[in-house]
Amino acid sequence: MSKDWKSYKPLLLPDIQNLSSIGVYEKNDGYKALKDVLKNKKKWTPENVTNEVKNAGLRGRGGAGFSTGMKWSFMPKPDGGPRYLAANGDESEPGTFKDRQIFEDNPHLFIEGAIIAAYAMSIDVVYVYIRGEYRPYLRMLQKAVDDAYDKGYIGKNILGSGIDVEMQLHMGAGAYICGEESSLMESLEGKRGYPRVKPPFPAQKGLWGRPTTINNIETLANVPLIMKNGADWYKKIGAEGHAGPVLYGISGHVNRPGVYEYPSGMLITDLIDEVAGGIRGGKKLKAVIPGGSSTPPLTAEAVQGTAMDADSLREVGTMMGTAGLVVMDEDTDIVDVVTRISHFYHHESCGQCTPCRDGTGWLENTLQKINRGDGEMRDLDLLLNICNQMEGRTICALADAAAWPVRFSIDRFRADFEAKCKKTVYALS
């Protein structure tokens, strides 16, 4: 991508004072997309809205990067019974902190997107699942929702259109796994957050046994942009095949960490060196985790010339994930970092599947042994073997998320691991 990102003006988080208040939002074309859709229901049938979002090329921002319009089209035809949208604001993947900024700076954009999505899928109630650690931001969103109800953008007969959509906020209570869509539904139903076996998929049998779609907060915030400006306009933003603005969360050893909005397809080096002000203390780069702790880390060499979009990242053996980049300088002890990541997944495994429950424990314990200097070379093979036993063998993808950072760190930073292992001494020879 060329340097024209420098003149890019944020669309999801524009630089407007007090945009979180409904009056300011309305003055800046807020709720215009929703009005246009509901005033022209003949032109904007639910199918047409879904197709517009599909044609725009919007991909989910929650981690998996699935086509949003496609996902909406999986919803069965309305049968008169209730249908639900679950907006995923669990945001618990280490390195990820961007949905939080939407709650704080532009909550109405999200609300508007969620209501348009609800119309497109004939949804009755939107449940917004927000992690319990975001309580102050939940209060901000609740204020925005109350104001939107008062102005008739949510509730019965929205803007006189005959469409009814309710919105309820649900606060989590500290469990990473509840970001996984089926665990989220269990949690909303008042249970322990054990992921469900699929199929049936949520569109068939979701919340309370009814058709349900799960979308990330940032994903839904993109919807008004598409409806206001059209799929063709949207498609041209950023990388081909992964269109749109992206909220990049940059953390770790950089001078100016934080959330930044730029088009997809930004070069990782531009994000680190120019956007985030370079590495602290003028140090050299050691590694980058591109999209939250579960995405395989990249070496400094692999980062060169690599852009933040699904295809480019696949080529270097990693993923876009949540676009939460964790930057590590040359002094970083990779073994220590991976050990801490493994502790996280061990702590967060729900324990339903043996490969995950036991595997995450084995990974953490073995890494801790290596990290404190008691490991042996063969422990590295043991770790890879455990990863083999975990990947693709469980109910949800947490096991994979736990295995990947370990597998690919050993793969890409093997010397660092070997340096911490005892040299095996043979009695003979």
Partner: protein, 179 residues
């Protein structure tokens, strides 16, 4: 200690919570939050109360409380300092901040001071990685860009009964543009 009971107003609030969901069971998480706000924790007695209010088996409520880390099934200090030591915070000195808090209060992570004022916990990512190292106070406000001085200030403020301020985050991009 105050009686573990819901009064009339509480029961009214619980009815409002129940109305948000198609069945009663789904109200268990918000009602547990409500109870924890009122009683300070969700120990077994509180769990039984919630179970009765929602007509659920106490075992179900126990199962929920023990699945989620933010429900306190044991009494905690009045102020709980959740110091993040996860990935980005680890990289930016989260463990130093944890150790400093432990030294200052003379307790280890997972413990409570004798006067019942403070608990310290080492916690997983709190979704504020760009503002590392950071901590959260009693499941609510964040203290970002922690330093020893900032830790001192927060602890002093809490000791004297003052609430801490919410730190609004302006994205650095806007600061650049407005300059």
């Amino acid at each position: 200690m105050e009686d573990i009971k819901f009064d009339k107003d509480d029961l009214k609030e619980i009815e409002k919570i129940k109305a948000k969901y198609p069945d009663t069971k789904s109200a268990v998480m918000p009602v547990l939050w409500y109870a924890q706000d009122k009683f300070g924790d969700t120990n077994v007695e509180v769990q039984k109360l919630v179970a009765t209010a929602l007509d659920l088996p106490p075992s179900h409520v126990y199962g929920v409380v023990t699945f989620y880390t933010q429900y306190y099934d044991q009494p905690k200090g009045k102020y709980v300092l959740d110091v993040c030591t996860c990935l980005s915070c680890q990289l930016c000195g989260g463990y130093d901040m944890l150790n400093y808090a432990e030294e200052k209060l003379g307790i280890k992570a997972g413990e409570t001071t004798e006067d019942g004022l403070f608990s310290i916990q080492s916690v997983e990512c709190l979704g504020a990685c760009g503002y590392a190292p950071m901590m959260q106070v009693t499941n609510d406000k964040n203290v970002n860009h922690l330093t020893k001085e900032k830790m001192d200030k927060v602890i002093e403020a809490l000791k004297s009964g003052k609430d801490i301020e919410l730190e609004h985050i302006t994205i650095p991009q806007h600061q650049n543009v407005s300059k």
